[in-house]
Symmetry: C2
């Protein structure tokens, strides 16, 4: 049972940013009614790789959701949508701005039906501003939002973040918007529109890059694997692979030198404080690099862990999903899909003591819950459903 | 006025993951009482660069917060904390697991005082599992959580994401946990503990990498700037700089060919569908690369925008903060700090129609709100405050 049990979400999203938001809400117990185009469904149902003919991409983002097919371009389909709108707390969509209005189901229309509706829109550039109408994809937003310009090897090319952080960030910010609006609605009965732009979220996640630039006027570049202001805080080659060391303060520096047999440089004035280690990085790095080659990653891990010095291997995905901490935290879950069979996917990262969320059921087959939703939520009889099917509305 | 107005948060966080969470809550209208160690404060007050002697890093993460100094190791300091706990809705901390218990202010103790308290803990590895007690920093968690292994140039080294995504993601997930627990509490009166691990959040953000690996058994590598499954979806050099093109579907492919004068290859069976473009990427890339060199980024932008083809420049931070869309969305705000003067920082990315959040006031000076909080919230008189000062509790 999650904290959002009893909250009903009408989910008009597809691909990633919107579905990530409704996945978060569903993981926390909300009931998610995913509306999909008849015959086709969410675009990501076509994204490979497939397991048992079903998209692994789609399945990993759409657990805990029910699927209702609905042709939003048909009059009858729109009527069904309106009926649903009157019965839900939240609607989430990630169409290009203006699309919902063109369909005749924009926020201004829907709030006539349900004034306490929380209407969340996630889009590339938002519902205002000169770029509002532009289409966007993750790669474009990562480029425009600055994160690419500060990710990459030192002296190297701007680099795209591997996961689609443009979409995922928008999904997380939209979730925060929905929950905060629910808190306000539960108190006042008043709904509202939430407008989250992928580009805005990228700017909000630049961390200290903006502060550094506005104070120093130096344009931040790809910073490589080093921390921008803490030394040593980076990967080193070991006798067999690599290890990341994070010596976050001067106390840890002394311990680190001790563990490594580098007592001779612990008090060296060139290195004894973090500002000095920054200033004399070019002298320090070769000393540490040579030292770290002397043992294997596992040997270093043991020594550094015992001394309380933050460190870790660079895990590839196969290692991540077998990692003992990841497994102990149930961050990889096995979900049984009726068609595709067992599939591993990330678990619920928010651990709540009283109302833990859960992956309760697998992603739906297209239209799997048509009858359940139309009969039980909306009270349609068999004849009405037959009529909708014959009219191509489902 | 934000949607969280009236919600009071006791903020025991420092540096990034925790402060990012309480910044989100504060931006949305919650009242944030930031508890800091006397004389020293949040560690990040020492992080450069400085403006007027104040850390730009600290200031950009701690707007909308009030500062109360409190020595949590002193008996009197702890008593003040207990008084505050009885009057707040939420407590957020990002100490290493066990630290709060050692101080005698763990969740089990605090919920005796306030059973409806929402206690949110953000840590490196979480409050359970074999690595729980380990210290963590962003670079370590990015390495262990898999994101580094799939970020980087093709064939290149694993690459750290520029902003500290390990911390920021934990901040966002913790915020979602707090808000969902508030919804549950507002309905039931029951509080709970929220345990968010930086490592767990990294796993939750790997997107399709896990699905791809478990289905194909191929270990994902740094994917470079290309999309893993859509072509063309990557940067190209132009006559003067670079541009990212995102041709997300076959319809856009035809339009793109048309805009570029590549009609001859639009219907070419090697390239006419996305699976075929993926398969024949090595043949396609040189054709497109040569073509994109023929015009400047601005010329291409105009042509591609007119045709509705997603594209954008790779903006450095100086360009981001001047971008017309970013400015139109108020994603760069000017905040006046009483000591440091004007400082630019990211705005509020969640745009709410009824209860918009805001950057209401600048980050606090250390202990700036001691009297306000002790007198007005807790009703302490001048004598009691003097006693606390003399005992070194403030």
């Amino acid at each position: 049972m999650g904290p959002l049990e009893g909250i009903r979400v009408l989910d008009l999203t597809r691909v990633l940013a919107g579905p990530y938001c409704t996945m978060m809400l569903g993981d926390l117990g909300a009931e998610i009614i995913k509306v999909e185009a008849p015959g086709k469904g969410d675009d990501s149902r076509q994204f490979g790789p497939y397991q048992g003919g079903e998209s692994a991409y789609f399945m990993s983002l759409n657990r805990n959701k029910k699927s209702l097919t609905l042709n939003l371009k048909s009059k009858l389909g729109k009527e069904v949508l309106m009926d649903l709108v009157s019965k839900v707390d939240v609607l989430v969509e990630n169409f290009r701005p203006g699309t919902m209005e063109k369909l005749g189901i924009g926020y201004e229309s829907l709030k006539q039906i349900n004034p306490s509706l929380i209407y969340a829109a996630s889009s590339g550039f938002g519902h205002s501003g000169p770029y509002s109408q532009r289409p966007a994809y993750d790669g474009v937003v990562q480029a425009m939002g600055g994160i690419m310009s500060i990710t990459g090897q030192r002296g190297g090319m701007p680099t795209r973040v591997g996961p689609s952080i443009g979409d995922i960030a928008a999904g997380l910010f939209t979730t925060i918007g929905v929950l905060s609006a629910l808190i306000y609605k539960n108190e006042t009965g008043i709904g509202q529109k939430i407008d989250v732009a992928m580009l805005d979220c990228q700017v909000a996640m630049l961390e200290n890059a903006i502060a550094r630039y506005v104070v120093t006027k130096e344009v931040p570049k790809p910073a490589g694997n080093r921390h921008t202001s803490i030394v040593p805080f980076e990967p080193f080659d070991t006798a067999d692979s690599q290890i990341v060391i994070a010596v976050g303060n001067d106390g840890l520096w002394v311990k680190y030198c001790d563990v490594c047999g580098l007592e001779s440089i612990a008090d060296d004035s060139r290195f004894s404080t973090n500002p000095n280690r920054n200033e004399n990085y070019e002298e320090l790095r070769p000393i540490l690099s040579a030292k770290m080659l002397e043992k294997t990653t596992e040997q270093w891990q043991k020594l550094l862990d015992d001394a309380g010095i933050p460190n870790g291997p660079i895990n590839s995905i196969d290692k991540v999903i077998e990692n003992e901490q990841v497994l102990a935290r149930e961050m990889i879950v096995d979900v049984r899909h009726p068609v595709a069979g067992q599939l591993k996917m990330p678990g619920v990262a928010i651990k709540l003591s009283e109302t833990p969320g859960a992956v309760r059921f697998a992603a739906p087959i297209l239209g799997e819950h048509n009858h359940e939703i139309l009969q039980h939520y909306l009270g349609y009889d068999a004849e009405k459903i037959k009529e909708l099917i014959e009219a191509g509305a489902l």
